[in-house]
């Protein structure tokens, strides 16, 4: 996946101090504790909820007092009172990135995590674009990899300036001073200066251009399971997510958009709705209606009374089967080539055996537990938007575009995110909120119901992939062909669209860099864009393609009569990192130990996001086809584990997220409408289904890999391969159909 490059910055150096926003305000530092939700309130009088509720007099807020202190770059603010605020360029959506990024800065700045506070960065590509995605975007498991060097540099540069300032004051060589926990010490005489004492002098120091960074053996914080900085307020109700923001005078609304993508609003009969107590407004835009009330319940009760007439438009007849058939019926001749290595046709001619299969993947919703919401106030001088987003700059530009404003007139106040998984990489719900809010004078929070959320997502597209391999006499693959079929997600992120004939690197993600040593390879992509809205979903192209490739590798091993682990190891014998994680996982899972009939283990391996990962799932399948998860083992080579506890948490959660989809998730369309509504018919895995999960970390490189999505990528193929081991049934369609297993088990 390549995100859109909106502001290209080559490399990533230290930031020019002249280029700083008036960022952190002194007021944020008053209350102490975590300041997650209070950053960058811009010109608005808005308050985040727990300040508002907590009884702080808004008059105490001096809008115009800026920050006076040490601001060496976009990421660090140190006040005279010794308070340290770190500005987070990535969005926190549960992956622990506020902690990980803080650890990178704090390691070199020589402060403890207990001494810092963090705030989300405002939209500013010049300051906060990250070097992999080249934009201020949180996604594709890039944040830790991207900021690994820049944030340590930022911390080291700031520390150097503070130490140099102390050295000048004491008239000593800076190299003779020591520094720890925000205090500079002169070991010769025991004198100390706190960072807060040095902010003015340090601000006059030159920004060092080349700062030495610590080597791995010098790390004090990186590599430790340091407590997360965002979690204390997540266990006591004080954490503020987008949906929790409260602005003085705010009303609360809910939205009903056209049930068919591309449909239009014809008319609304709101006679009954307007009689509901507490209703404030019924607002219309081209394809949606919002009901606004004094509280959500008034809005929701009134929305239930609306009689809306829609024009369903061109997609009124769309069904899931049509979308699958559209791909199946498109010949592969016109496919866009992605990999051409050797000659698969020639190799197949001399092969001992050819294996073919087709795999089908469904539409998936993200179903983040925090439903889509936006709080927004449109005023004469501009707009304030409180929202949790993975793309604050895109949100700013989109709202500005929709309301015909300059981007700087749109102030995005990013919030904690109650689940992202790719859902908050798109901004259409924020634009929708802006179009409604522009019609009223009050600030409004628009919350989608769960039903609205599930039925108006940007869905992971349907894929239908035709895959084949030619095996030699030993059963090893000599040729590999994968005709990937489906829509282009990248297309929806490019303002002018992805041109016909161009390759969507996400659609073929993972298959273009196959780890297995196969001499002849052909990979291409049959592009069939669906008429529905599609988007990135956790694990992106790798989740889709690793399901196909890793399931198929198991088919090849079976055809060769070989053990799936041994088969993979033979094809990876020149890849020490892959070999290490597979052997570790197999060892810990007891791969060689026999299981009773009806039970089986499955493995999947992939190397994506710079992190080789092996996952082994053990299941049993009963006579009714019910799949019981028995044990999960994962081994990852993360390169450098910045916070090993977070690495483990991401693996555990990522795998479970993927298993939930593999077992249950299937968005279907009929008459252009999504047939699922809520968590009863868009089911998710629950605690009673979860077996023990063991995770193991290898550190086999000098830099961290990405991991937010890796576990999800591994889950479905490892599960499918385990089902095959348990039953002999190869399921090539997601989610796994238990009725097929029941039939097969009954047939014996």
């Amino acid at each position: 996946m390549n995100m859109i490059n909106r502001t290209r910055r080559e490399g990533y150096g230290l930031v020019d101090t002249k280029n700083l926003p008036a960022a952190t305000r002194r007021q944020f530092l008053k209350g102490g504790g975590m300041l997650l939700a209070f950053s960058m309130l811009g010109g608005s009088k808005a308050l985040a909820a727990f300040e508002y509720v907590g009884g702080i007099d808004p008059k105490e807020w001096d809008e115009h007092a800026g920050f006076h202190g040490f601001a060496p770059n976009g990421f660090i603010r140190i006040g005279k009172d010794n308070e340290i605020v770190l500005i987070m360029p990535s969005a926190e959506m549960g992956q622990g990135i506020y902690t990980g990024l803080s650890m990178l800065i704090a390691e070199e700045l020589e402060v403890g995590l207990d001494q810092i506070q963090v705030v989300p960065a405002p939209p500013n590509n010049a300051l906060y674009a990250q070097p992999i995605l080249k934009s201020q975007t949180t996604g594709n498991s890039t944040s830790t990899r991207a900021f690994w060097t820049p944030l340590r540099q930022a911390g080291a540069a700031a520390r150097t300036m503070l130490v140099n300032a102390a050295a000048k004051r004491w008239k000593v060589d800076p190299a003779t001073l020591t520094v720890a926990r925000g205090v500079v010490t002169n070991p010769a005489n025991g004198k100390t200066l706190k960072y807060g004492d040095l902010v003015e002098a340090a601000s006059k120091e030159a920004l060092p251009q080349n700062v030495a960074l610590k080597s791995k053996d010098q790390f004090k914080l990186i590599g430790t399971p340091a407590p997360r900085v965002d979690t204390p307020h997540k266990v006591n109700g004080k954490a503020i997510y987008g949906i929790d923001v409260r602005v003085p005078g705010m009303k609360v609304g809910t939205v009903l958009a056209s049930p068919v993508p591309g449909g239009k609003l014809v008319s609304v009969d709101d006679t009954a709705a307007r009689k509901v107590k507490g209703v404030v407004d019924v607002l219309k835009i081209g394809n949606a209606v919002a009901v606004v009330g004094e509280h959500f319940w008034a809005a929701k009760s009134a929305a239930d009374q609306l009689k809306i007439t829609w024009d369903d438009g061109a997609n009124a007849g769309v069904t899931t089967q049509q979308m699958i058939d559209a791909i199946k019926n498109t010949p592969v001749d016109g496919a866009v080539n992605a990999v051409k290595k050797g000659d698969v046709a020639a190799a197949a001619k001399t092969a001992a055996k050819t294996i073919e299969a087709a795999y089908t993947l469904p539409n998936l919703a993200h179903a983040t537990l925090e439903p889509i919401n936006t709080t927004i106030q449109v005023q004469k001088d501009g707009v304030d938007v409180w929202v949790g987003t993975q793309v604050p700059v895109n949100a700013q530009q989109a709202v500005a575009g929709a309301l015909k404003l300059k981007p700087e007139q749109v102030r995005i106040h990013n919030q904690l995110i109650g689940g992202g998984y790719g859902r908050r990489l798109t901004v259409e719900s924020i634009v929708q909120a802006a179009l409604f809010a522009a019609q009223v004078k009050y600030p409004v929070k628009l919350i989608w119901t769960r039903e609205e959320d599930i039925q108006h997502d940007n869905y992971r597209p349907i894929y239908y992939d035709r895959i084949s391999a030619a095996l030699d006499a030993e059963g090893m693959p000599v040729a590999f062909t994968d005709h990937v079929g489906g829509g282009s997600v990248l297309n929806t992120f490019i303002p002018t669209g992805l041109p016909k004939g161009a390759l969507d690197s996400d659609a073929v993600g993972a298959v273009t860099a196959l780890s297995y040593a196969i001499p002849n390879q052909l990979v291409d992509w049959v592009r069939v864009d669906p008429p529905i809205n599609i988007g990135f979903w956790r694990g992106v192209g790798e989740t889709h393609n690793s399901f196909v490739v890793e399931s198929f590798m198991d088919e090849l091993a079976a055809a060769a009569g070989k053990d799936p682990v041994e088969y993979r190891l033979a094809l990876l014998k020149d890849d020490p990192r892959a070999t290490a994680v597979i052997k570790l996982a197999a060892d810990k899972a007891g791969w060689s130990e026999k299981l009773p009939a009806g039970s089986g283990r499955g493995i999947s391996y992939h190397h994506a996001f710079d992190s080789p990962l092996a996952v082994i799932v053990e299941v049993s399948v009963d006579e009714q086809g019910e799949i019981k998860l028995k044990k999960i083992v994962a081994a990852v080579d993360i390169g450098v584990a910045v916070n090993p506890n977070t690495v483990k948490a991401q693996l555990e959660g990522g795998i479970i997220f993927g298993l939930s989809a593999a077992l249950y998730n299937n968005i279907t369309f009929d008459k252009g409408r999504v047939m699922q509504n809520n968590f009863d018919d868009y089911q998710q895995i629950r605690i009673n289904e979860i077996p023990p999960v063991e995770t193991y970390i290898i550190e086999g490189a000098d830099h961290p890999g990405g991991l937010g999505e890796s576990g999800t990528v591994s889950a479905a193929p490892a599960l499918g391969n385990a089902i095959f081991a348990a039953t002999g049934i190869r399921l090539r369609e997601l989610p796994y159909d238990k009725s097929q297993l029941a039939k097969a088990r009954a047939a014996g």
């Binding site: 549960g94 979690t231 006591n236 319940w297 537990l369 439903p371 109650g418 555990e652 009863d680």
Partner: protein, 150 residues
């Protein structure tokens, strides 16, 4: 007009009879720790206690609360068990996005109040109404066990 006892304090609210407690807490009283996830009693994000028993705030009409004492995530740390659960959650780093965790903690606290030493099966039964999309279930189970022995 209803008088509600929430976390030991009385609150007077003038709201419709059928208004779910969830929205009274969030939109009228500004107590946003209790979360909206599904509105249909399917996810457990809105779990609060009525006289110590876990209920879904989105399915509890304000008119049905009566004199029962309401405890929310904002007040659970004032109870002995709630405090232990919160500590276990932090010690084990249970939380990821955290959006479901108010509800998880309320359900876990209610379980431990009734059953100080729950088995895995007890935990599964008490907690299966609480969804977590981040997949923190393994640590939730460990967290309950740690709180039970703390």
């Amino acid at each position: 007009m209803y008088t509600l006892s929430i976390n030991g304090k009385e609150h007077k609210v003038d709201v419709p009879d059928d208004m779910p407690l969830l929205w009274v807490l969030r939109d009228v009283l500004g107590m946003t720790g209790t979360k909206f996830g599904c509105g249909a009693g399917l996810c457990g994000a809105c779990t609060v206690h009525l006289d110590g028993v876990a209920v879904r705030g989105c399915q509890t009409a304000v008119a049905d609360v009566g004199k029962q004492k309401i405890t929310t995530i904002e007040g659970i740390g004032d109870t002995e068990i709630g405090k232990k659960v919160q500590k276990a959650w932090l010690d084990l780093e249970v939380v990821q996005c955290g959006y479901c965790q108010s509800g998880q903690i309320m359900s876990a606290t209610s379980l431990l109040a009734k059953n100080p030493n729950p088995t895995d099966a007890d935990i599964d039964e008490a907690m299966q109404g609480n969804l977590c999309r981040c997949g923190t279930y393994v640590r939730i189970r460990e967290g309950i066990k740690q709180a039970a022995t703390a």
